[in-house]
Symmetry: C2
Subunit: 376 residues, 2 copies
Amino acid sequence: MEFIINHETFNQAISEVSKAVSSKTPFPILTGIKIIADTNQLTVIGSNSDIIIEKIIPLEYDGVKVLEVLNRGSVVISAKYLSEIAKKLPNDIHIKGNEKQIITIQSDDIVTTLHGFNSEEYPMLPKMVETPSTRMAIHDLIELIKQTVFATSKNETRPVLTGVHMSFQENKLTCAATNSHRLALSEITIESNVNGSVIIPSSALHELLKLMNPNQGEIEIYISTSYIVFKSSSMTLFSRLIEGNYPNVVGLIPHESETAITMNTKQLLKGIDRACLFASDWKNNNVMLEMKDASKLKISSNSTEIGRIEEYQPILSSVGCNELSISLDGNFLMDALKVIKEEEVKISFGGSMRPVLIEPVNNSSQLQLISPVRTY
Amino acid sequence: MEFIINHETFNQAISEVSKAVSSKTPFPILTGIKIIADTNQLTVIGSNSDIIIEKIIPLEYDGVKVLEVLNRGSVVISAKYLSEIAKKLPNDIHIKGNEKQIITIQSDDIVTTLHGFNSEEYPMLPKMVETPSTRMAIHDLIELIKQTVFATSKNETRPVLTGVHMSFQENKLTCAATNSHRLALSEITIESNVNGSVIIPSSALHELLKLMNPNQGEIEIYISTSYIVFKSSSMTLFSRLIEGNYPNVVGLIPHESETAITMNTKQLLKGIDRACLFASDWKNNNVMLEMKDASKLKISSNSTEIGRIEEYQPILSSVGCNELSISLDGNFLMDALKVIKEEEVKISFGGSMRPVLIEPVNNSSQLQLISPVRTY
């Protein structure tokens, strides 16, 4: 195997796939990156027990030559050293592997020799033929994931909650995530012939977010019983699925409220952020929201030893009862407000012990639910 | 005590002095920042057992009003919460303290109340009257510190080596730092009437580097038996001194060499950086330098299990023996080359077991010494 490649292109690809590679794997070969040189492209693969990332490098990018393959073949090289050296080479990189798995990497007159692995031993990737698939705009997928993934549970006691639940119905994709104290739900209409639902590890989705380029048009999603595949023109990410039954979160969404108010999203976020001043001293970082009339919302928190902080923010409009007092986890509130793009947000309260519903104004495709904190 | 201050000015000052404040101190009051409001200025003080940082905020900066003092007085406020809140306030900050040490911090209609400490309990700062002092350009002091502080020892077994040795002779300031494997020495001519030498903790000098603004003209240095003070127009840093006798490092500098070569500084640095590829697998990160003739220097390193890297760089000029083979700690070499601004560097070798002397070409005020690594 032998090829010459533009060093920036190579460095970029290696650093992206090496994100998937863990040095902690029991299989030495999985600490490596697999490089496959074909006549018309280079394929670079990195993986761990949860995900596989595959990047395709064509011979040229919009007319500019970046790759020349002199001999087809494949090698597996330590991800750690390959990414280190790729960063530091000044010019086009000439890589050559022999049958003894000795790989020479040359750039100008800098010569590196690394012992590779036998690429035959690298596990096969799942086949995607016959797997039902659907297409959507990359930009939309990015939004859906960002609006939900933060709400997954960090706690492994209920594995299904550590993932995002993606359910494909006829022409609709719904994403849900919850840690049982808060829920994020977001949906979008897509043209899909896939039906069914899967639970995807949040770690895989965080990697996917880093890899997807919103300007790269569409992404194809393949679903099988044991894995899901996201395939764009430049990369493919395979992720394992989390097994188990996801709770029926839609049933949790309240349909009536005692009080509903609209607030300025950014301003409210800043206010909550300030009220979290004493967060570090609270096991659950309480923020009090109070309303005495329809004009102002009081945001406050206090810590007997240290002090208190409070501020008032104008209520843009309100419906229902004008008196309210509830205490919520400030970080959950901030997470929820951060993913709302709309300028105004609607907050519906069902009473001091009922979950609070947060929705962007004029956008019914996204909602968040946060359970109050008991303060006695 | 009561004053109104521009929030950016205040935030800046608080974040600078809070760098000195440690939450680990046994004295609760030292977890706080002392604020002294005078009719014509605000003084902000943060400290720990090693250093004290004092910032002065005038009523205006080049004609722009930033401070209005309504009532003179002083308070001590928790550094942690004060810096948090100062960051997050949107507008001018109105701070008021009462005799019960209750401090209210208001910006727009955001009101924070914090319990302060009794400012009478805050330790007095050392007096600088009668202390001998000298002046120098801030820019020069920054250079001197950068050229030496990195070479201090991280190991507490010989406390004197954890500091930088500053020796003031008539009209000359010399800084030295060593960890007994490498030495950095740098000197400058200054107009000073101070004589004597001190050892300053590297931590204090790192803080000083962050605080000094090279465009702020001159800095005054006061030296007493137990502390040193750096005073510029906008800030004062007090540092404790390290007691003990500093080794006579000047005696270590070799005066003749077997081989002396000049190389391009930046190119050599990059080459050493690449050769450190296998650094993580070496207890002392060896890099081999080899010369077979006067034209090229071979830079290489290798790890039997992983592989090897080598490159050749042109030697710009050489004096003495043309054969050479020595192995050095790559990180020490990089540290040394990083602080050399000059385009070309002169490297003098006294044999494979003798320390290597590194100096910028045409600049005798700065030198570095690195002991070779035994590779058998």
